[in-house]
């Protein structure tokens, strides 16, 4: 593949055929790079832009992404070589332009000798590679190296750093688009990484070891299938190179060298790329425009994620928070990846697996980008800080024309890339579904500087939204609720390192602001070095500045900011702006409820993702990210100190020096597991044992670590053979999934084997009696604990004790949570002993009633489904009472006509005579016809617990009624009538008089909160102005809404119960 791709690229440029395109692109890219190297002409740039655009053309959605990229390079080019016109033209060009662009490319090549170009290109590549991180590099490099590796060195450094950043953005985008490029990668890669890198800055910047580890030839070879990527990367490289030339002129090489460290980091991440390429391989044929688009998007998203991560590192980099944020992002990414495949139905299978690894890779890239970004980060910072530079950046991106200072420009392009990618990334991470939107946003962002900023802000929001969306994620993590996952992907990831902080913060949404404050304080407190503290503070300051400038935006987005920005925001909040805090509080409430569950989620999501997604890769990525973050943070600090680019570069350099150190810091920030992490996370270790290190890194507590270790071991056992491969990431991902499956299957097999050797016996024929436990425990009280192994008879209570336990619960004065817990344990004991009799029915009935009383519908449903089978078995119990409940439940809550019909048709004649059932049927009639008068009369006369179920519908019914009334009645309705008709009785009042007034007050309050317009007539009666109200009524968001549906089930209760 590689060779083929290379040859094609080098030799003929056939812009005509789409398929060729990719190959062509790759070749073009090379050529471009060459051209650039030879003499950075505006033409080459245009070529680049054209390429990018061409890519865009291929994939519609991609176009957005691409645009940012092209703009980036274009801007750089424009700055350097003001060929703005050419750029713009290229950018504007559609698919048709593609061909043109190609043609254009070829001409470019002609002027200079390919070899020479290649040399120059190499240099540029190198630079680009360094930053771009290994992955993209290797591919393009390979080809380049062939031509002339040595030359690049000189040009290298300068362009390298810039190009690197540029290339990053470019590469990210491109990779997805150009899958064919893969061939390039393979050969070149190794060569470059090994030889060229060391020779150049690389050796300085990034440890050779890292490269070797990260970009082992083997990996690349594996990746080679990803030809597309390689193509992309080359493009990026080109862009990089072109700028690089400029850069070299403008910016000192030293800066580049700084950047290169980032590249080194990138190398780490390179692994992900490898993964990536496999994907490409999967979809290689997909080069077709339609197929590719999807890939592109995904890639972009991933890239974007990287960017976001990098961003995060930047802000938080110094702080632990940043690291955490990065983690969180990465987490979502996996989820995204998983989902992505789903979206790409065709490619889905392969994608999924690959994606997992890719995500991991993506993270590393982000890290790299972070490092690379470091240059870009500076820009970033500028943006955040809203310094002049930031502005500069924006213009360039928007209009290539803006001829700012070379340095600023450079930065800006980078930033632009990053930003552009950011939105995308964020979107992608947060929500797969949203991904398209995110794309659009990025595209938008590029057009205007302001918009870009906005996009940044928005991005955070999107992620949050996305967080909710990541259903795919949730799927992956069955345990973790989807909502939880969605909500706190970032958090979760963050929590891993800082589990305590998050746990405390998240659990209590209401106190979130405080927790945030505490969080920040803790973050600061955790800073073990002065450096860290300084960086942390710097980050905070920047955040604050941003908040001030963009305050409105921030306020708007506070809810959704958690991922990367959260850290920043939190910091800002804690530090200064009380207003921000307030905004957070206001907006957070809706989210908060869900967040309660985060503590649980944190653990589970982490573990599961790791296991399922081949966490090793990710983890490795994490580590990388951490390192990057650290670097970034350092860089940031430096940057902060000196806004100038050079200073930042120096910062990077320093980062290099500190390279390993930063990693440790981050881990510290990460949390309890730091010690282990540190050991495990050493660079070399990462590559070798990504699996472990990742696991370790994620583990926030020792227990978790243990658990995770055991889990990973389990996988090893199951699929040890797989793990032997050189490609840890992809395989791990597979292993994770497969491993789970296997283990599950294995147990199932064991079971079935023991019981059905002949293979003909059905499950139902298994002699369960032999397995049934006979309990011996005499304790009446027992806490519920979900069984994870075969029950121990010593802890299981026999039937007579259970009967006492039930009585005890029934007479207990304790709260519902206690009773629920006790009943669950009773149920468990019954199940374990397979007791199916009146006692069982009684227990479930008791629990169902209690659950109804407490409004705990999920628990109620569990009980009801059990009761249905029990009743079906002929156990008497109060079947009619529960038939009525079930009818009511279907009518009022499930709103499913078919279900309602079938449950109605199942009612026996006898049942229809039962008072409760009749009541339920009348309620149903009232609800279906909207007869609110009837409904509230029935509400008052409800037998049993029917009113409890109706309770939950009262609000809706009242709203419906008032809407009806205000639409139909003119001119007014006395509120007293509404009180009477809609069953406002007032809360807990004794005397009748009092009751009436209470009811009136309650009704007034209710009407007010629902937007009704009230007037007072001459008699002092309060009337509802129906005409006005008919348009002003609204259903307010329930203030006390909680994810689990019952605000009484406060998390605090769980904690205090112990």
């Amino acid at each position: 593949m590689n060779q083929g791709g290379n040859t094609q690229a080098v030799a003929p440029m056939d812009p005509n055929s789409i398929e060729n395109r990719y190959g062509v692109d790759g070749s073009q890219v090379h050529k471009y790079s060459y051209q650039y190297s030879t003499g950075s002409d505006s033409a080459p740039w245009t070529g680049h832009s054209a390429e990018h655009q061409a890519v865009d053309n291929g994939n519609y959605s991609n176009s957005n992404y691409y645009h940012p990229q092209p703009t980036g390079p274009a801007t750089s080019n424009a700055q350097e070589i003001p060929n703005t016109a050419s750029f713009t033209s290229s950018s504007t060009s559609g698919t048709a332009n593609m061909a043109q662009g190609y043609s254009g490319y070829t001409p470019y090549q002609t002027p200079s000798d390919p070899h020479n170009y290649s040399n120059t290109g190499y240099s540029s590549y190198y630079s680009g590679y360094q930053q771009q991180p290994s992955q993209s590099y290797p591919q393009p490099v390979g080809a380049y190296q062939n031509t002339g590796a040595p030359q690049p060195l000189s040009s290298f450094q300068n362009p390298g750093s810039y190009a690197g950043t540029a290339s990053y953005s470019g590469t990210y985008y491109n990779p997805a688009d150009y899958q064919t490029a893969g061939g390039y990668q393979s050969t070149n890669y190794n060569n470059q990484t090994a030889g060229s890198y060391p020779s150049t800055n690389y050796s300085n910047q990034t440890p050779a070891s890292n490269y070797s580890n990260q970009t082992p030839a083997s990996n690349y070879s594996n990746q080679t299938p990803a030809s597309n990527y390689s193509n992309q990367t080359p493009a990026s490289n080109y862009s990089n190179q072109a700028p690089a030339s400029n850069y070299s002129n403008q910016t000192p090489a030293s800066n580049y060298s700084n950047q290169t460290p980032a590249l080194n980091q990138g190398n780490y991440t390179s692994n992900p790329y490898q993964n990536y390429t496999p994907d490409a391989a999967n979809t290689p044929s997909s080069t077709i425009a339609t197929a590719t688009p999807v890939h592109h998007q995904q890639n972009y998203q991933q890239w974007s994620e990287y960017y976001s991560q990098t961003e995060v590192p930047c802000a938080p980099g110094t702080e632990k928070l940043s690291a955490t944020s990065a983690y969180s992002q990465s987490f979502p990414v996996p989820g995204v990846t998983s989902e992505m495949p789903a979206s790409n139905s065709q490619h889905a299978p392969s994608y999924v697996q690959h994606w997992g690894p890719e995500t991991g890779a993506s993270q590393p890239p982000s890290q790299q980008s972070g490092a690379a970004v470091s240059t870009s980060n500076d820009a970033y910072w500028v943006h955040q800080t809203q310094s002049l530079q930031a502005h500069h950046h924006v213009p360039p991106q928007n209009h290539y024309q803006s001829p700012l200072e070379m340095k600023p420009l450079y930065e800006t392009p980078f930033q632009g890339h990053q930003r552009a990618t950011y939105p995308q990334e964020l979107n992608s991470q947060s929500s797969f579904h949203q991904a398209p939107l995110g794309y659009r946003q990025p595209a938008q962002a590029t057009p205007s500087v302001d918009t870009q900023r906005v996009s940044k802000v928005q991005i955070p929001t999107n992620p949050r939204i996305a967080s909710n969306l990541p259903s795919g994620f949730t799927k992956m993590d069955k345990d973790s609720s989807a909502a939880g996952a969605a909500q706190t992907p970032a958090y979760v990831s963050v929590s891993m390192p800082k589990s305590k902080d998050h746990a405390t913060a998240m659990p209590e949404p209401r106190h979130f602001p405080k927790s945030l404050r505490g969080y920040v304080e803790r973050a600061l407190a955790r800073c073990k070095d002065d450096k860290e503290k300084a960086s942390c503070q710097d980050a905070l300051k920047e955040i604050i500045m941003n908040a001030k400038t963009d305050e409105t935006l921030y306020t708007r987005d506070w809810d959704t900011e958690p991922l990367s920005t959260v850290l920043n925001r939190n910091v800002t909040v804690t530090e200064s702006s009380s207003t921000l805090i307030s905004s957070l509080q206001n907006k957070s409430p809706t989210r908060r409820p869900k967040s309660r569950w985060e503590p649980l989620l944190e653990e589970k999501p982490f573990v599961k993702p790791a296991s399922t997604f081949s966490s090793p890769v990710k983890f490795g990525a994490w580590n990388h990210q951490n390192e990057n973050n650290k670097k970034n943070s350092e860089i940031f600090q430096k940057v902060d100190a000196a806004i100038g680019f050079k200073p930042t570069y120096s910062g990077q350099n320093s980062a290099k020096k500190n390279f390993q150190r930063p990693v440790k810091r981050q881990r510290f920030s990460g949390g309890a597991a730091t010690a282990i992490d540190d050991e495990a996370s050493s660079d070399s270790d990462k590559d070798l044992t990504p699996y472990y290190s990742s696991a370790v890194a994620l583990a926030s507590s020792a227990e978790e670590k243990k658990r995770r270790d055991s889990r990973s071991k389990r996988f090893e056992r199951v699929q040890g053979h797989n793990r032997g491969n050189d490609l840890p990431k992809p395989k791990n991902a597979n292993v994770g999934n497969v491993g789970n499956l296997h283990s599950r299957r294995a147990t199932a097999l064991r079971l079935s084997k023991t019981f059905d050797e002949s293979g003909s016996r059905a499950v139902e024929d298994i002699d369960w009696d032999a397995l049934t436990v006979k309990g011996t425990c005499q304790e009446i009280e027992k806490r519920y604990l979900r069984l994870t192994s075969a029950p121990d008879p010593a802890t299981v209570r026999p039937e007579d004790v259970l009967e006492k336990a039930l009585l005890m619960v029934q007479d207990s004065q304790k709260n519902y949570l206690y009773k629920c817990d006790q009943l669950k344990s009773i149920r468990q004991d019954l199940t374990v002993q397979r007791i199916h009799n009146h006692l069982t029915a009684k227990v479930y009935e008791t629990h169902a009633r209690l659950a109804l009383e407490a409004g705990d519908l999920p628990e109620y449903n569990q009980c009801l489904s059990q009761l249905k089978t029990l009743y079906a078995e002929g156990i008497e119990g109060c079947s009619l009472e529960f038939a009525a409940y079930s009818l009511l439940y279907i009518t009022l809550h499930s709103n499913n006509n078919r279900e309602l019909l079938s449950s109605m048709s199942r009612l026996s004649e006898e049942a229809k005579k039962d008072e409760a059932v009749r009541h339920a049927l009348s309620v149903r009639a009232a609800v279906t016809s909207g007869n609110y008068v009837m409904f509230f009369r029935l509400y008052k006369t409800a037998p049993n617990m029917n009113s409890c179920l109706m309770d939950l519908y009262v609000e809706k019914m009242r709203y419906k009624a008032v809407t009806f009334m205000s639409r139909s009645c003119r001119p007014t309705i006395p509120v007293s009538y509404i009180v009477q008709v809609l069953g406002f009785t007032g809360a807990a009042s004794e005397g009748t008089d009092e009751k009436e007034t209470n009811g009136l007050e309650e009704c007034l309050e209710w009407l007010k909160t629902h937007g009704a317009n009230l007037i007072t007539d001459s008699n002092g009666d309060i009337l509802l102005d129906t005409k006005v109200s008919s348009t002003s009524l609204f259903m307010p968001e329930p203030e006390d809404a909680v994810a689990h549906g019952d605000r009484n089930l406060d998390v605090n209760d769980f904690f205090t119960r112990t």
Partner: protein, 413 residues
Amino acid sequence: MAYVSMGEAHRRITEYLNRFCDAVSYQDSSTLCRLLSFSSNSPPLLSLADALNLFQDASSLIRQSDKFSEYGEILAHLFRSLQSYRVGNLVEAYLAFEKFANAFVQEFRNWESAWALEALYVVCYEIRVLAEKADKELTSNGKSPEKLKAAGSLLMKVFGVLAGKGPKRVGALYVTCQLFKTYFKLGTVNLCRSVIRSIETARIFDFEEFPRRDKVTYMYYTGRLEVFNENFPAADTKLSYALQYCNPKRERNIRMILKYLIPVKLSIGVIPKDELLQNYNLHEYTKIVQALRKGDLRLLRHALQEHEDRFLRSGVYLVLEKLELQVYQRLMKKIYIIQKQSDPARAHQLKLEVIAKALRWLKMDMDLDEVECIMTILIYKNLVKGYLAHKSKVVVLSKQDPFPKLNGKPVGS
């Protein structure tokens, strides 16, 4: 069971094998259909079954000849199924038939042309019918019926074979209809959605190109689904399509369609003629139609109660119940007309008291609050134009078209 000699048994089996192989090699679909059609209980098949039960070792016969052994797997399962079917062991028969069907579908997949579509239809039909019978047997034995569910997944597999491009696609709708029947019987109607999506979104094959009988069946079932969803306009189009193209000689089918179409039409304000109900023996709707004409709430409620079971089972109960509002509208209109005759100037003012009195005559006891509530709903749903003056307890009707007709739109739209 008549006595059959061993030689006769051998002859019958060999003849069957020959005919089967000939049918396949000559691509004679109709013969193949006859050979596979269990439920037809055709004499040749029954005698073959007897022969098989006597001979017992048919598989050795199959192995004897290369010609037979090519379809050995298919035939062996088929024979076993036939044997069990003959002796009344339906569960066994189903299991064997399922294996046969799998093998047959595998073979069918390899045939490039769609010549055997008819035979595949037979297989699909038989497996569904056999599964239903097997489930009946299972339930009578106190076991959980699950064979129909299994048949559903097998049909889904067949659907997958047909749903692609190419000449076989034309058979996809038949399988879809079998799937619908299965799912409706199982009560897992939501599973229909994926099949529907693949039928309706596939642009490679025009829906009109499917066989008419399948189209009618398909429209009937999707129409029923829309009734469940109370999406009356869509249900109306689908069921009307089914009615229009249904073979007019198939009165039973027409009746089935009308059973759903009439409630749908009623709820969008179209009232059928009495002859239609008479001709197709749809007496359960007679009273309801009358109630709608007269505005007789009591009659409607009685009719609903009378046929409650039937309506609940067919799933139109809730639809019919919602006709109540139209009945109210009719009643109001009647009051309005009467008032107009006595006092045209004030006819547009309906006193709630008057309405309550009218309802009392219908033996519907309602107090003013309830009447007001109902009037509120009527106005809100645009069945009555005007407003309700709460203070004076009067409904003031619009002077223009106070009782708008539905004109084919559902209530409240």
